[in-house]
């Protein structure tokens, strides 16, 4: 029987801390009530631990790991509706629905996320300007509260609990199952196009032009060579191909990072070399091509545990969004600070969000420009750099993405999420996380 076991093995994707937690790994729904209900320490439901920081950690508290509950309850290819346990991964879901010509409407940059995690962070994909967030496609979900209630919620809910649970960081209770609407697709291929660009202005022009012509857009930039708004980048855009072939992705990645890299492996020189090589390789392949969805949506999933690349001290992710009016100036300023620091990441990602509204009270995406990068954890100097970035985002009226965060201040969080007060009323009194204890009002 799955009870709570004390362990320090469960880490978030950034691997900066290794807290001791009481972890339960239930496999059947009948085990859940006794794990969720009752007093004692606080609970938190988690999935595949792909959030980078501390929103999926509950140090000295209890964690209910939902990955053992991954059964599909009902799948109707005709109506596109699928209901499954919250622990089902998109990896497994896609392999099941793709042969029927269906796909999740929204997928993030990795398929190793659970339905519960996708709801908890109201995740977004490369097609935000067309399909909004994951929460826009949730039809119903079941929420278990510590007072013993099991509540079924949908977009028609008037209490606000559904809106609080979408992007609710697991704080409104345990999500037991989720029902989503899938989308129809012709096949597994994407008609993709890669366009090199050399300035931020060019990036924004490409983004504007692509909104109406392309479903998927995302860009990579070389954050080691920035000069004002001049920089090198690759703009990638795509649409579903009419090709009816539907091969699903391979069940297991072929490569894995078996070990952590030593500290010295990642330094300004190797970073710069990597970015140079990536750019040149991208330029070579520039133009149109037909690619499978797996490398297009999930480029890093080919290497299991790639996060070990950052060594024993782990890494911080930083993802912000700034509103359209401030996009050019604030993004240029952020990149300038990063370039000057000599830190900065392998894969800096730049993207514009559309204006579609999510039901979620704490949903991260909003209209504007989002920048995401990772930084090796070098202690105080990394934290200082991130604080300098915070100041720019704060000035620009932007916000940070909790899924990627393990250090933002309460002030930074509260300023970014104007509907926080409405959200707080729905937090389950016996649910909490390290993130929440730091930023809660």
């Amino acid at each position: 029987m799955a009870g709570f076991v004390a362990t320090d093995r469960l880490q978030s994707w950034g691997r900066v801390t290794r807290p001791s937690q009481n972890v339960a790994s239930p496999h059947f729904a009948d085990e859940l009530p006794s794990l969720v209900a009752g007093a004692g320490d606080t609970r938190l439901g988690v999935g595949l631990m792909r959030s980078y920081g501390d929103s999926n950690l509950n140090p000295d508290g209890s964690v209910i790991r939902m990955t053992g509950l991954d059964r599909i309850h009902h799948f109707d290819p005709a109506s596109h509706v699928l209901r499954a346990d919250a622990g089902l991964s998109l990896d497994s879901l896609i392999r099941t629905v793709l042969p029927h010509g269906l796909f999740p409407a929204v997928v993030p940059g990795t398929r190793f996320v659970t339905l519960g995690g996708a709801v908890g962070n109201d995740i977004h994909g490369k097609n935000h300007h067309r399909f909004g967030t994951f929460g826009n496609h949730v039809r119903r979900l079941s929420l278990m509260r510590s007072d013993g209630r099991r509540i079924e919620l949908g977009p028609d809910d008037e209490s606000g609990l559904f809106a609080a649970t979408i992007g609710g960081l697991g704080l409104t209770g345990l999500i037991e199952w989720v029902e989503i609407a899938l989308r129809a697709i012709p096949g597994a291929m994407i008609d993709a196009e890669t366009i090199p660009f050399e300035s931020l202005e060019e990036f924004f022009a490409l983004a504007d032009e692509s909104i109406t012509t392309h479903e998927h857009t995302v860009s990579w930039i070389d954050c080691t060579r920035i000069d004002g708004t001049k920089m090198r980048g690759l703009f990638m855009r795509g649409n579903c191909s009419a090709d009816p072939d539907r091969p699903p992705h391979a069940a297991r990645p072929r490569l894995g990072m078996p070990l952590e890299l030593p500290r010295f492996a990642l330094n300004p020189l190797t970073l710069s070399l990597f970015n140079e090589a990536y750019y040149r390789f991208g330029r070579l392949r520039a133009g149109r091509s037909k690619v499978h969805y797996a490398p297009f949506f999930f480029p890093l999933d080919g290497i299991m545990h790639w996060n070990r690349l950052y060594g024993r001290d782990g890494m911080f992710q930083y993802q912000c969004v700034v509103p359209p009016g401030a996009s050019l100036d604030a993004t240029a300023e952020l990149l300038k600070i990063i370039a000057a620091s000599g830190e900065g990441s392998f894969l800096a990602v730049l993207k514009t969000f559309g204006s579609n509204a999510s039901p979620g009270l704490l949903s991260f995406p909003r209209e504007g420009t989002t920048l995401a990068l990772d930084f090796r954890n070098r202690g105080p100097q990394t934290l200082e750099l991130l604080a300098r970035l915070d100041a720019v985002v704060f000035e620009a009226d932007g916000r940070l993405y909790p899924a990627k965060d393990g250090r933002m201040s309460a002030r930074m969080f509260q300023s970014g999420y104007p509907r926080l007060e409405a959200f707080t009323a729905h937090v389950d009194p016996h649910f909490s996380s390290a993130f929440w204890r730091r930023v809660a009002p």
Partner: protein
């Protein structure tokens, strides 16, 4: 994809984590899968999932599999419901509390009844049926714990050892029929991350996921020698463990 008829599979102990991972591999092939285990509600949840993942019919047998009265009739009935049988896979088992079982013979007997006596009878019922039709696979999950008696779990280990010997014998018997599509195999996993091992400290290179072991089991069902380790490296670990002389072995706490 081939045009072969979908397989008909019986899974004994279908609520086991390794069993469910294996059943999903069959479901993706479009097999019909009969599920047998104690808890009917849990079986219904697994059946719905397997159906969504592509399985044909998924009949359920909710039964204490260690109950030996009427076992053969139950076997025949579920096979009839399935419309015939190609593969029989046996997964259920209990680790038990070694220390309790040393003092309380009823507890020891419970382990032996579940892990050996009843499992042997299900295997014999399956062997009878498969031999009569001249085709099919019997796959029984044993354990590396059966390869050498160790103070920490020798009652469980002895039951798994007995079961392995039984299946080895069935494999021999099948081989003598000369039928190519008829075979029996015991699969011996090492450490697998499932509810059975929730009491242990997990992680590290010796631990496998249920999916990894399921892939080995599915391959073994398609045809293999009578004994398969999962993952393969346990064959060599156990070879060494068996070779350690008793005076040295007895100094360890294994």
């Amino acid at each position: 994809m081939t045009d072969r008829k979908p397989l008909r599979v019986l899974i004994l102990g279908a609520t086991s984590a390794i069993a469910e991972a294996t059943a999903r591999l069959y479901a993706a092939e479009g097999a019909s899968i009969a599920l047998a285990a104690r808890d009917g509600t849990r079986l219904a949840a697994i059946a719905a999932d397997l159906t969504a993942r592509g399985a044909g019919s998924v009949p359920i047998l909710a039964r204490d599999l260690a109950a030996m009265d009427g076992l053969e009739a139950a076997f025949d009935a579920i096979v009839a419901e399935l419309g015939g049988i190609d593969h029989v896979l046996l997964f259920y088992g209990v680790l038990g509390e070694q220390k309790d079982a040393e003092r309380d013979l009823a507890a020891a007997r419970a382990i032996l009844d579940v892990d050996f006596t009843s499992a042997a009878l299900w295997s014999l019922a399956a062997a009878k049926r498969l031999e009569a039709q001249g085709s099919g696979a019997l796959v029984v999950v044993g354990s590396v714990a059966g390869d050498r008696g160790r103070q920490s779990n020798y009652i469980y280990g002895a039951a798994k050892a007995g079961l392995a010997t039984l299946v080895q014998g069935i494999a021999h018997r099948f081989a003598l029929t000369g039928r190519k599509g008829l075979h029996a195999v015991v699969v011996k996993p090492g450490f697998v991350d499932t509810p059975m091992t929730d009491g242990l400290k997990k992680g590290g290179p010796l631990w496998a996921s249920p999916d990894q072991v399921a892939a080995v089991i599915r391959k073994a069902a398609a045809g293999s020698g009578p004994i398969v380790y999962a993952p393969w490296f346990w064959r060599f670990i156990l070879l060494i463990i068996r070779l350690v002389p008793a005076p040295i072995f007895h100094k360890t706490k294994l």
